[in-house]
């Protein structure tokens, strides 16, 4: 027997996925509670029972995407990999999520449209930069990268380079060429970090 609590949680998830589809395609301004309800196959009243306003749905989508792997919990999700291997896995994981996970695509679009949204969304980039900075420290201890790097600075540049790659790939090919572009990016970025045998990690 399905409890009403778990049925309610299921409906909340269904609304979030429907909202992600609407936000990813139409943006914040173009989506509405009515369209989200229609996409979820339910009524406006039930959507509003779970989320007071459109902005609350946006906030929940951004929060839940950014707190999940591969953005934040690379070590938690895959504690068996470390250092440079974990950095490469994280970058490939984020690229894969951009392509394949509509909730992540919605979160990325919402974060870009933050001017339009009347709640404070989490600031993007900083969490991922901090995580990659930590992993670069591990990589240095393991002798995988050049000694004496400024880890936070190099992490900032990896995240910025990645962001541009995904943006241009999205705009010109709707991310169809993203996996190939990420491989090209890693082949250029790893030598910048003094990785002596980049092919070990690619």
């Amino acid at each position: 027997m399905v409890s009403s609590g778990s049925r309610s949680a299921e409906m909340r998830e269904r609304i979030l996925v429907a909202a992600a589809i609407e936000f990813a395609v139409r943006g914040y301004a173009g989506a509405s509670i009515a369209l989200i309800a229609e996409e979820a196959g339910t009524g406006k009243g039930l959507v509003q029972y779970h989320f007071k306003a459109k902005s609350d749905i946006a906030l929940e989508l951004v929060r839940s995407s950014f707190s999940r792997a591969p953005f934040a919990n690379v070590l938690g999700e895959a504690a068996s990999i470390h250092g440079m291997e974990a950095i490469v896995a994280s970058i490939r994981g984020v690229a894969g999520a951009f392509r394949d996970d509509v909730r992540v695509r919605a979160a990325v679009r919402l974060v870009r449209e933050y001017h339009l949204i009347p709640v404070a969304l989490p600031v993007p980039y900083v969490g991922w930069v901090a995580r990659i900075g930590m992993l670069l420290r591990e990589a240095e201890e393991a002798g995988e990268v050049a000694a004496g790097l400024d880890h936070d600075l190099e992490a900032w540049h990896l995240v910025a380079y990645f962001s541009g790659v995904q943006e241009v790939s999205n705009r010109l090919t709707e991310r169809e060429d993203l996996p190939q572009r990420i491989d090209e990016m890693l082949a250029r970025a790893l030598p910048m970090l003094g990785v002596t045998h980049p092919e070990r990690f690619l």
Copy 2:
């Protein structure tokens, strides 16, 4: 004596600058003919005499920004520089335009919001990638970069890396740290191209 033709051209320019301010701050959805007229210190009627619709103003801002230096006419504007020197000047020039030219800032925001705009805007990136590819060819002929590079591929990656740098800098510091981030980017990107003496160009 000022002719009515030149006064009309002046008003058209004033409307474009006012629209750029509105689009840069509020985005396409937030701006309106009424707000643009107010910003330009004129009436809605005169705005609509010059531009039928809000989307026509957006199109003109994007077109005029992308066809101007430093995006497209680097060689035309500064034919005395070539190859790697022209690439570095172009990247620094675009970064400077992003910070200092409200029409370019508006164009960049409008291009990102193209889903919302009911006219076909010029596709970003491709013109600049082609230009930098040409300059890389010059740089190879001058022996400034490694021989045998895929110029269009490397140009794609320079433009993507730049785009991410300006995006993250914009989101985290409103482009305050952009000049420094561009210097850091060039210090990392030039060795990737096999530039033997990067300091010559920085």
